[in-house]
């Protein structure tokens, strides 16, 4: 597999910080090229951490941090990385960043890190991150890579946050641990056990993909 899948643009004069081309790096993964719903990557964690919004939010932040940082690092050293061991180098950098994030969570957000437990560590195997490094950061400049990282990170984040919103609302009757149904006087509103189990996430994810593809007219080739 070659690393030059994305053509290196020849920049002649200084490009504006947020040119049209660069804006696309951020906006594309949010919708048309979403890592979860279009590329169908990172499903494992999307199912596992979305029972409640709070851990999902922390997970999103962790993934965005890891993907942006690793994109930046890989992109900065892309010219000195030996091609034959590039995957190992990418993996080593992702793994180190994930361990860093895990350590910080354990120190400052112990309750949430207990909830996320093994899934923070599993960010290492999140295909979205390695996919971006291999497909983008290896062939593009650091600043563009950062933008691309934010794009993919947010694309991942908004999907899992949406899934978590519905799962927490119907599975536990709350939003960010705030009991919504009790607050509006429906204390007896039945919670749905299906939503609390990973199958619920599958269904919501399926619905999101359905709605999105109907709107975009995207067809699997």
């Amino acid at each position: 597999m070659s690393t030059d899948t994305i053509e290196k643009p020849v920049v002649k004069k200084a490009e504006p910080l947020l040119s049209k081309r660069r804006k696309k790096f951020v906006t594309d993964p949010l919708n048309d090229d979403n890592p979860i719903t279009i590329q169908v990557l990172g499903i494992c964690s999307a199912l596992a951490v979305t029972v409640k919004l709070e851990p999902t939010f922390v997970m999103s932040c962790s993934v965005v941090a890891v993907i942006v940082m690793s994109n930046l690092i890989i992109s900065s050293i892309r010219d000195i990385i030996p091609n034959r061991v590039r995957i190992i180098v990418q993996l080593a950098i992702i793994a180190s960043l994930v361990v860093l994030v895990d350590q910080v969570l354990k120190a400052y957000f112990y309750d949430v890190s207990k909830l996320l437990s093994v899934f923070v560590g599993l960010i290492i195997t999140n295909c979205i991150i390695m996919g971006r490094l291999e497909a983008f950061a290896m062939a593009n400049k650091p600043y563009d890579s950062i933008l691309d990282g934010f794009g993919s990170g947010f694309g991942y984040a908004w999907i899992i946050l949406t899934v978590a919103f519905f799962r927490e609302l119907f599975g536990s009757g709350s939003v960010f641990n705030f009991k919504v149904f009790e607050a509006i006087g429906l204390a007896n509103f039945p919670t749905n056990g299906l939503m609390a189990s990973p199958i619920g996430a599958f269904m919501i994810l399926g619905l999101i993909i359905w709605i999105q593809r109907t709107k975009n007219g995207y067809v699997e080739h």
């Binding site: 030996p82 180098v89 180190s96 599975g171």
Partner: protein, 252 residues
């Protein structure tokens, strides 16, 4: 571009050293904060067995004010020092690690919850319990009234029980089912409190040694039953010494 093997080896070696160094520095640097977080979490769980924490109070101060702890063995003797002669702190005894040892060698922490008005008056005994759920470990803290028979509170947590089913042991409405239940019968035999199969929803259906089950989580409930009974059995010699008013002898 093809690079020489030497370059690749050198690159990998330098990368390993840089990343390894970075990780060790962070691990060492964040250790005090992490230990503080763990200490706080243990104390929250212990206090959670006897009171409803709102999350606003200063747990560490409250804990120091209201609890006195000791470590006992399964024969009821108080242990003051560990194998190397260092003083033993009950809060730092890792119940999960002790669980792997044979019962006679286990260290069993006891947390005494003191009365707010009289700091020498014990209000409840809080005892850690540990066992296997359906998928992985479960653990908790049982708070007993001073008669060492009536359950005052039970906080439980788990590693990987099924969300919405077995994981419900962490919810207050399941834990509150244990409040007021008795461990021993009139003859003083350990009956423990059993969580039944199925969920009927009517508390009046159960006697003082039974609680309502969790629908769809019978195997987790079995784990909870076993854990509670086992640990109450281990603490039994200690209970006997307390209730007979015997001086607690300590071994080194």
């Amino acid at each position: 571009m093809r690079r020489s093997n030497l370059y690749i080896i050198a690159f990998s070696a330098i990368m390993t050293i840089v990343l390894g160094g970075l990780l060790s520095i962070t691990a060492v640097g964040l250790k005090p904060m992490q230990q503080k977080a763990i200490r706080l979490d243990t104390r929250k769980q212990i206090l959670g067995a006897v009171m409803q924490l709102t999350g606003k109070e200063d747990v560490l101060t409250l804990y120091d004010l209201r609890t006195k702890s000791l470590v006992v063995t399964a024969t009821g003797e108080v242990v003051k020092t560990d194998k190397d002669g260092n003083p033993l702190v009950a809060e730092e005894v890792n119940v999960g690690k002790e669980y792997k040892k044979p019962v006679e060698e286990r260290l069993l922490p006891v947390f005494q919850f003191m009365s707010e008005s009289d700091p020498n008056q014990i209000e409840a005994y809080i005892l850690p319990v540990y066992g296997n759920g359906l998928w992985n470990k479960i653990w908790g803290f049982v708070a007993l009234e001073t008669d060492l028979n009536t359950i005052k509170g039970f906080s439980m947590d788990h590693k990987a029980e099924t969300p919405g089913l077995g994981a419900r042991i962490t919810s207050k409405d399941i834990q509150n089912r244990y409040v007021g239940k008795k461990l021993f019968d009139d003859q003083g035999n350990l009956v423990s409190v059993e969580m039944l199969k199925g969920e009927r929803g009517d508390p009046s259906l159960f006697n003082e040694h039974q609680v309502d089950g969790m629908s769809g989580a019978t195997l987790t409930a079995k784990g909870v039953n076993k854990m509670l009974k086992n640990y109450m059995d281990y603490y039994r010699p200690f209970f006997k010494r307390i209730s007979s008013g015997e001086e607690l002898t300590s071994i080194q």
